[in-house]
Chain length 242, copies 2
């Protein structure tokens, strides 16, 4: 009987987001599929990762408990711990799942028989798609501050790999004449920032797909805001990916 009628409910304050359908089950759970125990560790492990990504997307890392994830899969918490060693690793796995396609694209962009700007287009296209994927949020938001030094270092190096790849493409583009002279470091930051931010506003079932957004962004970055002299009718000679 504290008196004041102002909103008490410690719980309500601590969890600002009780969110209607909280235990919103994941669409496909290897457990719900059949009641008898399926022996496929890898499939289940990936289902756990995916469920975690889903929950992190909606409620954020810190507002998601492992009980939430377990509930979404309709299993108990120890089951989750049977497939991953702890919460941090769960975030890390989501991060890797999100960033891997980008790394692949960067590695594939080494072929020097294509103008660097076109190769950059391809990389940025995959980048945008990855950020808009189900793991995009985790990839973008995996914070230093929530990870052990080891994991943090690992993540940093993966991110750096991509950053360096983009800078290299920019430099190569300046050399082969397909890209306007610019500061590769700052330009890479601007590009990555614009694309990363997609994770903050993009939601599935939106009008545009990740690839379409990436294409639009590439056009913006290529053309620039400054009006171009209207004597180059073809603005993007290379075919956009997809």
């Amino acid at each position: 009987m504290t008196g004041m009628p102002t909103s008490r409910r410690k719980t309500a304050l601590a969890r600002p987001h009780p969110a209607a359908t909280d235990t919103a089950a994941v669409q496909d759970s290897p457990w719900r599929a059949s009641r008898e125990r399926v022996r496929d560790r890898q499939v289940k492990r990936e289902a756990v990762i995916r469920a975690a990504a889903h929950a992190f997307n909606r409620k954020g890392y810190h507002n998601t408990s492992l009980d939430d994830i377990a509930a979404a899969l309709e299993v108990s918490k120890p089951t989750v711990y049977y497939y991953v060693s702890n919460k941090e690793q769960l975030l890390f796995e989501c991060f890797v799942a999100g960033i891997e396609p980008i790394r692949a694209a960067v590695r594939a962009a080494r072929s020097p028989n294509v103008p660097a700007r076109e190769r950059l287009q391809t990389v940025l296209g995959h980048y945008g798609q990855a950020v808009a994927s189900e793991f995009g949020w985790c990839m973008v938001r995996a914070e230093d501050q929530d990870l052990s030094p080891t994991m943090s270092a690992h993540i940093k190096s993966l991110k750096s790999e991509i950053d360096q790849g983009i800078r290299r493409l920019l430099r190569e583009g300046m050399q082969d004449g397909s890209i306007q002279p610019c500061d590769p470091k700052m330009t890479a930051f601007a590009l990555a920032g614009a694309l990363n931010w997609i994770a903050h506003w993009y939601r599935e079932n939106q009008s545009m797909t990740g690839a379409q957004i990436a294409t639009a962004f590439i056009a913006i970055f290529e053309n620039g805001l400054l009006p171009r002299t209207p004597l180059s009718p073809e603005r993007a000679p290379g075919g956009s990916e997809r």
Copy 2:
């Protein structure tokens, strides 16, 4: 005596960032200034906000306890609660402190006697400075998921105000011919994303100031990656702000 020598230490897992100088005191605390009680509620309140921003910057919102903030100010937790009602409000105040200068810049950019691209330059300049400021992190990272519906809606409307302002400048720029035809919505997202992301990599005492970074970004966005026909010797006719 659990057996396995694998890393136990529940605490170490839960707080991955014990960070050497954790209770790193804030430079200027109205409390440390003089031991007798100063009667200046507003000054102290602002000191609390600033200390919170500092802590959030370094450790993130969820890894910062109100005890941390109190310790940084060399007071006790109830003292902090004497100036703010709860942790959420603390985040909100930091957000507002960060975003206010941008809103001011957007409002000031209504004067129609200057080309819209130049007005946009000014807005983006202030934007970049704000993101690189001590409140930048809080402004950019104030998550929906950590806020009550009321606060969340409030923040959304403030953000939207800026977004709409940028889109309007883009449209005006297309009309007055100072800006290349483009999709204002996507372009505003790209601009805001690139600038917001500054908060993720910028640290003070870096070689560039926030304003300098903003200037560099504006140049990148204006020129575009596509080489320009080398017949326009002056690339940015408008003087850069500052």
